[in-house]
Symmetry: C2
Subunit: 342 residues, 2 copies
DNA sequence: TTGTAGGCGTTATCAT
DNA sequence: ATGATAACGCCTACAA
């Protein structure tokens, strides 16, 4: 007695006593699709009656679009990408699009595989993070002919659409803040710079700011660590051991900075009196702890939202500026102060 | 000179001098697909030569599967769901599947819409969180005929496939820990229980544990708040104002507990000497702060991973136990102790 | 306004 | 082992 399989458009059409074409037009969400109100109503009724669910693949094959947007992200359990993902998904949903998500662990090869997978899956457009990708990834993107958007970073070459910020400039600003406070002995807990332009720019920003004032950054004063609180603790401990004497730390992101803060506390080093700390990202946590973290505010939700919005516009054929630079101001809280004795 | 559009299988076949059928078999990833090694190689060469990319929609239409799995999640910027999402995506990618992700803000109506969208998009299976859903959502799931999995919670009715834990039992355990330490005046900062069985169970677990020892939980000692550190601070402040005298707090999750801890510190209330705190989830942060948070360890990555793995197995036709209960032990750290004067 | 019919790119069945 | 060819379910000129 049960229907052999799911009802299809032909069933709806038959049940409503119209042709398949008319049924299609009546159900088409967009387009008034010239159909008399009465017919449309009849078709709709038949559709719900039968529990009709359009077959996405068939539709995609015919229209050559899936109403799906692919995102290839670094670990989405990083708070920054988590909020970007959420914002992106929300933005897309509001426009009737769905997110095809692939996340990798900062591995360019997996990123390429994921990118290809999303293209094959028929994503109408793609979002990637940063500008460091394999040549094959760039090639795949180009061959696909799909609109794509790079996020978080800006494209110095001006060739690609992107929404993000200059991590270097922001980092310079943060470092200058420390210099202005009177610090000259500065250490860096950088994120891993391999395959990560954000981390790399942030690190070189510190160098630039220092050398602009005639200061150098000794190798022993720099440690690269995976982005996590635990690693931040470890890194600070190691810095203290291998190159003590610094009065301030610039961290590659807030997790690392918070880890450093925790380590300071456990060692009885008071922040900011004895140690100033600057983070990056401004995750919720930065403002939630008792000692507010001075950090560069990176509007990750906005980046996700705008990335989606820009892509959606381009899909509609509207023109969009190639680059959108978001504001990333330094937020002064309680973790920075002049070094002791000044 | 440029090819009119993307090369398709027919182009590859022609270029390799074989029929479309043979080309298809040669490129088929699975299945030895009886093709002579030599032919296969020739076809493959032609494919890369032309930059052939299979058309997912066409394939999906023919095979009736998209190799895509849909997930409808609460805010993925919640650390718990972020790590679940990441683990799920990784698990799927390893099997050649891709994640179709929709996230909502604890809104059942959006959840329904998202669920329908994913079904229409052709997801081969679905993952949802918890068991509180609209009847229409359950109906859509059933009609779709797709395998689906509920996560984080367990299904008391035993009707649905699920992987998760009993939040009630875990909460009872956490509360008993406080009672065993000698606390009798306990307050609760619950997550919002509306449309959230996890939050609700956690709250009622506290009640159950208390009443098992003949204690009651006054309404003034309970506050519901959105899951965030800031809200945790606020909630503790409010509890202190409206119903002081408690010596311990059970929080609906770690963010709320950490917020409470921060508020304590800023008020000079020492933890755990003057106030014991118990969280839920065991996010990274719980173990990273100087005062380690005693909390229920919820293995969110494992839940995501197993959810995916179970679905994948079912898609392969293997049989899978209807329910998988994951371990959620109480992790004792530094935020709980006997109340003063005991 | 409605119907007819061709096409979208693959896979799968059935011969050969 | 390889080749025709019929689905797969929907959209969309084009015709009526």
């Amino acid at each position: 007695m049960e229907p052999r399989s799911h009802p299809r458009l032909a069933d709806v059409a038959r049940s409503a006593g119209v042709s398949i074409a008319t049924a299609s037009r009546a159900l088409s969400f967009f387009e008034p699709g010239q159909v008399s109100d009465e017919t449309r109503e009849r078709v709709r009724q038949a559709a719900v009656m039968l529990g009709y669910v359009p077959h996405g693949a068939a539709r995609a094959l015919a229209t050559r679009q899936t109403r799906t947007i692919g995102a290839v992200f670094p670990p989405v359990d990083n708070p920054v990408f988590a909020s970007g993902t959420h914002a992106l998904a929300q933005e897309l949903a509001a426009a009737g699009y769905t997110l095809l998500l692939a996340s990798h662990d900062y591995d360019l090869q997996s990123e390429l595989a994921a990118t290809r997978a999303l293209i094959e899956r028929g994503a109408d457009a793609l979002v990637l993070v940063g500008l460091v990708h394999l040549p094959e990834t760039y090639a795949a993107l180009a061959r696909s002919g799909l609109p794509y958007e790079f996020t978080w970073s800006l494209d110095a070459s001006g060739q690609h659409h992107c929404v993000g910020l200059s991590h270097r400039s922001a980092s310079i600003g943060a470092t200058q803040h420390l210099l202005d406070l009177g610090h000259s002995e500065i250490a860096v807990i950088a994120g891993q710079t391999k395959n990560n332009d954000r981390a790399l720019e942030r690190l070189s920003g510190v160098r630039d700011a220092l050398s602009a004032r005639g200061l150098r950054l000794p190798a022993a004063r720099v440690i690269e660590a995976p982005f996590s609180i635990a690693e931040g603790r470890r890194a600070l401990a190691q810095l203290l051991e291998q190159a003590p004497g610094f009065t301030a730390v610039v961290a590659g992101n807030d997790l690392l900075a918070i880890g450093a803060a925790v380590e300071c506390r456990s060692r009885g080093i008071t922040v900011p009196a004895e140690m100033s700390l600057v983070g990056f990202d401004d995750i919720d946590l930065a403002d939630a702890l008792d000692i507010g973290l001075t950090t560069v505010h990176v509007p990750s939700a906005q980046i996700g939202r705008e990335g989606g919005r820009r892509l959606l516009r381009r899909l509609r054929g509207e023109s969009v500026a190639r680059e959108l630079e978001v504001e990333a101001p330094l937020v002064l809280r309680d973790s920075t102060a002049s070094p002791r004795g000044r």
